[in-house]
């Protein structure tokens, strides 16, 4: 299983701080597509992803137990 954390407004959209999902073997891009289909999230293309507190590209494959975090780059200043 994998813990998936959401930051900033993603968390507000989801209504939860995190989800538990089975993402083993999937790429980051695949997980994003799945989440977009199941939840009312804004487009995830430009949302940054971290696996175990390290930046992960869209083609990175998720391992069992990995903690995934989605961090939307914000634009306010």
């Amino acid at each position: 299983m994998n813990k998936v954390l959401f930051f900033a407004h993603l968390r507000d959209c989801l209504g939860e701080e995190f989800l538990m999902v089975e993402a083993k073997g999937k790429t980051v891009a695949e997980l994003k597509t799945e989440l977009n289909a199941s939840y009312d999230l804004p487009k995830m293309d430009t949302v940054m992803t971290a696996i175990n507190e390290e930046f992960a590209a869209n083609d990175e494959v998720i391992q069992d137990g990995d903690v995934i975090a989605f961090i939307p780059p914000v634009s306010g200043g």
Partner: protein, 339 residues
């Protein structure tokens, strides 16, 4: 030793040598809103040699809650932010040379300015300018410090050409509908936290303590008590068009910029975003209504009443701003809402 900087010279990370370096450096701050005014104040107090600050807006009442250089009088006089900032910065430290530019931070202007500065600080409110800054940084080999916040959430990352990944490595595209302070609100402690991170990095870079520069991408939420630093060692993208070997600096290309045109004889500006895609009109309508704006819409467009102007936003991000012929003002209104 100048008594004025004695407490900073006493700090071992800076010392006399570092202070001497800081006093000869030139910093470009892009934006004079919350992050811009805060960064400018810290760096002016620290004795940076020259500060160039650029902004296209004027001071409004709703800025005063978090934009630290400005007073009620500045808002009443609708002073341009860059001018109001310059006035206060000079009262704070007359030893610092301040160059205030009232205008739009276009890629052309950024290229001109970057050639003469040691560091750029991101205090803008939109990703288009950030991506241009990112390209300019790579082209002229000038570090820049990303900073942004919305609500109680903020983030910062130092981009050092040749060393770290760049913003285009991380995003690969401009986010189409980023949260802005005008849609998600903002509290001052989140601003202060970003400023603390940006100015710490700035002082390290200006004092040339390169080993101390943060290599993680930091993000935090001051209300939810979260703080994370992401390791970025795997984030550099070889095929990046901004910092890779086949670089084209796409965001300095006129084709990729937001287009603004005055519609002939109609007192209306049309805005075409640089990005292809679809925005969620429903989500935007919800945000704008909760902001207190009068919003009308149908599945194809949204119409928003703003003070004196009316903005019509289409699903593909195109917009018409009725009631103005001022291109810069129209773009500012647009980016405040769509990021």
């Amino acid at each position: 030793m100048n008594e004025r900087y004695s407490r900073q010279v006493l700090f071992p990370g800076i010392g006399k040598v570092g202070q001497e370096k800081i006093s000869r450096k030139s910093v470009l701050i892009i934006g004079a809103g919350a992050l811009g005014s805060g960064n400018a104040e810290v760096l002016a107090r620290a004795g940076v040699g020259k500060i160039t600050i650029i902004d296209r807006d004027y001071v409004e009442a709703s800025n005063l809650q978090r934009q630290q250089l400005y007073t009620e009088e500045d808002a009443a006089e609708k002073l341009p932010k860059a001018a109001a900032a310059e006035k206060r910065l000079k009262a704070i430290n007359s030893e610092v040379k301040v160059d205030a530019i009232i205008g739009d931070a276009t890629p052309i202007l950024l290229e001109e300015l970057a050639a003469d500065v040691d560091l750029m600080i991101d205090a803008t409110d939109n990703f288009e300018t950030r991506m241009a800054m990112n390209d300019v940084s790579q082209k002229y080999n000038v570090p820049w410090i990303y900073g942004a916040c919305v609500g109680s959430f903020g983030m910062s990352f130092s981009v050092i050409p040749g060393k770290t990944p760049c913003l285009n490595c991380l995003l690969r595209a401009i986010p189409l509908q980023g949260m802005t302070c005008d849609t998600g609100g903002i509290i001052s402690p989140a601003v202060q936290m970003v400023i603390a991170h940006q100015t710490a990095e700035a002082l390290k870079i200006l004092a040339e303590d390169w080993d101390a520069v943060r290599t993680t991408f930091v993000s935090f939420d001051v209300w939810r008590n979260q703080y994370t630093g992401l390791k970025m060692s795997k984030a550099k993208f070889a095929g990046c068009l901004s910092c890779g070997s086949e670089r084209t600096y796409p965001y300095l290309d006129h084709e990729n910029m937001t287009k603004t045109t005055v519609l002939c004889g109609r007192d209306t500006v049309q805005i075409r975003p640089s990005v292809q895609g679809e925005i969620s009109l429903e989500r935007l309508a919800g945000q704008l209504s909760s902001l207190g704006y009068t919003v009308k819409g149908n599945p194809y467009l949204l119409s928003v009443e703003m003070s004196g102007e009316r903005m019509v936003i289409f699903k593909d991000g195109r917009a018409l701003i009725h009631g103005t012929k001022d291109l810069t003002h129209a773009k500012s209104l647009y980016q405040r809402i769509l990021g």
